[in-house]
């Protein structure tokens, strides 16, 4: 997906003026956020689980090469094929190649953020393959030709009425008011596609290295359909999704659904161990696992940023972020939005359009770090991204006038005379510039700063002391 981070200012402004989006965001706040909090309150050992999860992820990342090799070994033993994709283009080529080679005409897709990252749908469509998103939210944004606005609920920004109108226009549906009827309509449409699809493409929630199992969580049942009906199943995922053992998986499974929606467990938890074996009634003939790097190993190598890869894509940080809850996901300009998006997008893309905007789109309040199931210290990473942007040509650098401004401010604040002089000037100028640009963010300076009245008092105090 092409980044549009440079539009942050405009898109965020429009977002604040969009009543439908604001209504949707308020409902995320009232529902998803509240349900997550309630689920964790209920857990007697929530903090301990989070610590465990963080340790599991850190350990895995520390030995990622070993676990990936083990995973490949197991998957291959199970009859699956593992493909390694260094970047987005390589990943697309692999899937497109498979599709071409196997005569695939239709693909049904479970939700996969990585597939958005690499632009898979566009790539397949360009080669004449019909791609249908089957997660209802993804289905909706596919019809609307929009990018996802939330990691877990990609169409969360759309109201029921907007979706009803979309169904009319794109699917020839009658105008419906009842969300159940709309879901049923979509279900029927999608059922036809499941039954005729040649290939199912999914992401991965987790990959268990010790067994080679692919783990997928869902509430809708579309993943079960996408992975058992078509003759080929392709899972496209980032290399960081590995967990060492079933025991490790069990810790993360307790945290992921609770963090996402407040559910104790998703409606379906599926464990895939290779393609259908002789004698088994269901399953694809082929199973392919595409492991995508696309900048992840570079993040892994950077000690300051490595913990970004702990992320298990729960979306809890989005649901609790005061900024996200005001501007929604599109303003972040790429696949990943909210706090984790502010952290991943600049690192994966290393594009100045993203490094100059997203790391600053935060108050560093820390609400995200409080809810992250794997305790990623997002504010710390954002501060580090800001400092890289400031001086490092690989990430920035910041424009000269901005550098100059900070240097000037630093000089003034480290020199008493300059500082006191600046204060006096500000007091004189304020009434004149009060309504202009940056002055608007500052409150009126006091007529007498603390240091001045204190000087007076201590002088008076000394006088009194002499007298008394």
């Amino acid at each position: 997906m092409e980044p549009r981070c440079e539009q942050f200012m405009n898109t965020s402004r429009k977002a604040l003026q969009d009543p439908h989006l604001q209504e949707a965001l308020r409902s995320i706040d009232a529902n998803l956020r509240t349900m997550r909090d309630a689920a964790f309150q209920e857990l007697p050992n929530g903090e301990a689980l989070r610590d465990q999860a963080r340790n599991i992820r850190d350990h895995t990342l520390e030995h990622l090469d070993r676990y990936l090799e083990q995973l490949e070994d197991r998957v291959t033993q199970l009859g699956g094929t593992v493909h390694w994709a260094e970047d987005a283009a390589a990943a697309r080529r692999i899937v497109e190649g498979l599709a071409a080679d196997r005569g695939v005409r239709t693909v049904v897709k479970g939700k996969s953020m990585v597939s958005e990252e690499i632009g898979l749908n566009e790539g397949l469509a360009a080669r004449g393959v019909d791609v249908v998103e089957t997660d209802l939210g993804e289905y909706i944004i596919q019809l609307a030709c929009e990018p996802p606005s939330h990691i877990v609920g990609p169409a969360i920004h759309k109201t029921k009425d907007q979706i009803a109108r979309l169904f009319c226009e794109a699917l020839d549906a009658p105008l419906m008011k009842d969300p159940e009827k709309m879901a049923l309509f979509a279900r029927r449409k999608l059922r036809e596609r499941f039954l005729t699809a040649d290939m199912g493409v999914t992401g991965a929630n987790f990959l268990v290295a010790s067994s080679g199992a692919l783990v997928l969580l869902e509430n809708e049942g579309n993943i079960r359909m996408s992975t058992t009906l078509p003759r080929i199943h392709v899972a496209v995922t980032g290399i960081e999704k590995v967990v060492p053992t079933w025991g490790d998986l069990s810790v993360l499974l307790q945290l992921l659904p609770r963090s996402t929606t407040g559910q104790k467990l998703s409606s379906y938890v599926s464990l895939f161990l290779g393609p259908r074996r002789p004698g088994e009634p269901d399953g694809p003939d082929e199973f392919h696992l595409v492991l995508v790097d696309n900048g992840r190993s570079r993040i892994l190598a950077d000690k300051a940023f490595r913990e970004s890869l702990r992320c298990i894509r729960c979306g809890a940080c989005l649901n609790t972020c005061p900024v996200y809850l005001k501007i929604g996901g599109h303003a972040y300009g790429w696949v990943y939005s909210g706090p984790i998006g502010s952290v991943l997008t600049p690192q994966l893309l290393r594009d100045r359009r993203c490094t100059s905007t997203l790391p600053f789109a935060s108050t560093l309040c820390g609400a995200c770090a409080d809810v992250c199931p794997v305790k990623i210290n997002i504010p710390r990473i954002l501060a580090e991204l800001r400092s890289r942007y400031a001086d490092d040509p690989e990430w920035g650098p910041a424009p000269r006038n901005e550098q100059g401004l900070f240097r000037l401010a630093g000089a003034v604040l480290s020199d008493r005379l300059l500082y006191e002089g600046a204060g006096n000037i500000a007091r004189v100028l304020y009434p004149l510039i009060r309504n202009m640009g940056p002055a608007d963010t500052f409150p009126p300076p006091a007529s007498r700063p603390f240091r001045q009245s204190h000087k007076r008092k201590s002088r008076k105090g000394r006088k009194d002391a002499h007298r008394g």
């Binding site: 965020s12 005061p322 609400a367 501060a383 900070f406 500000a426 963010t441 300076p445 603390f450 204190h454």
Partner: protein, 266 residues
């Protein structure tokens, strides 16, 4: 306000009665730039509160900024420069009290990081980190004093600044102090810990979002029926007050120190 007006100390609370008080106790009072220039009353109130407890308070006008806004903006060189000044100004081993959560958090949690590996400054940073306190935590946890003899018969709600609550773990202390203020009715917002939207460089870059966020905070505060929002972090209070005034919301802000100094020495 200053209890020294007649050369006589009026102590509502006898220092001997304060658990953590050491006779002749001397502390530095660090008044950061924002309080100095935009809310000097909060600085004066903090001074008054400490002196009313019998402490000897040193203020040095050489001390201006702890370097935090530069640190969070990613300008580490400028931040270090200001941090070195701070470390030099307070190198005498004396306790430093600041009515500012962000400054204390900066010194306590980030100075060591700023000077990591530096043979001289890292040690100084760690040393200072061990004796710097935010005002409410100093009063309650170090001095063991909750009742200063203040009186303020108003309805007050308290905003938990991110730097104070998440940054320093301070939540109970301001409330313990406010509950002992005579006549004060403390009411809680729905989300006292929700960010006010200021975020330093954030509100300069994206003022439209900072505004949208603070309007929610103002609504939450106003819905308590309180006319006053208090806090331990002046940047939040200034941000809240500015937008409350702009929208005509019936709330004003007072730093915790200003409330605690109310009715003292009178």
């Amino acid at each position: 306000m200053n209890g020294k007006m007649n050369g006589k100390m009026e102590n509502p609370v006898e220092p001997e009665g304060i658990p953590g008080y050491i006779p002749g106790m001397r502390v530095h009072l660090f008044i950061p730039c924002l309080i100095d220039q935009f809310r000097p009353e909060a600085g004066e109130a903090a001074l008054c509160v400490l002196e009313s407890l019998g402490l000897q308070v040193d203020y040095t006008p050489e001390q201006i900024c702890c370097g935090q806004p530069f640190f969070t903006a990613g300008r580490l060189d400028a931040s270090r420069r200001l941090a070195r000044k701070t470390l030099s100004n307070f190198r005498d081993g004396q306790i430093v009290v600041a009515p500012s959560g962000s400054c204390v958090r900066m010194i306590r949690h980030h100075y060591g990081e700023l000077f990591q590996g530096d043979p001289v400054w890292e040690k100084l940073a760690q040393e200072l980190a061990g004796r710097v306190y935010e005002l409410s935590e100093f009063l309650v946890r170090v001095l063991g004093c909750e009742d200063l003899g203040a009186s303020f018969p108003e309805k007050v709600t308290f905003h938990d600044s991110c730097q104070v609550r998440r940054g320093l773990g301070i939540f109970e202390e301001p409330r313990a102090l406010l509950r002992r203020v005579k006549g004060l009715e403390l009411v809680e917002m729905n989300r006292p810990g929700e960010c006010c939207g200021f975020g330093g460089v954030f509100s300069a870059r994206y003022p439209h979002i900072a505004e949208a966020i603070v309007l929610d905070k103002i609504q939450d505060a106003a819905s308590t029926g309180a006319g006053i929002v208090s806090g331990c972090e002046i940047s939040c209070l200034l941000h809240i007050e500015r937008h409350a005034r702009a929208t005509g919301a019936p709330i004003r802000t007072l730093h915790l120190a200003e409330i605690l100094a109310s009715g003292l020495g009178s």
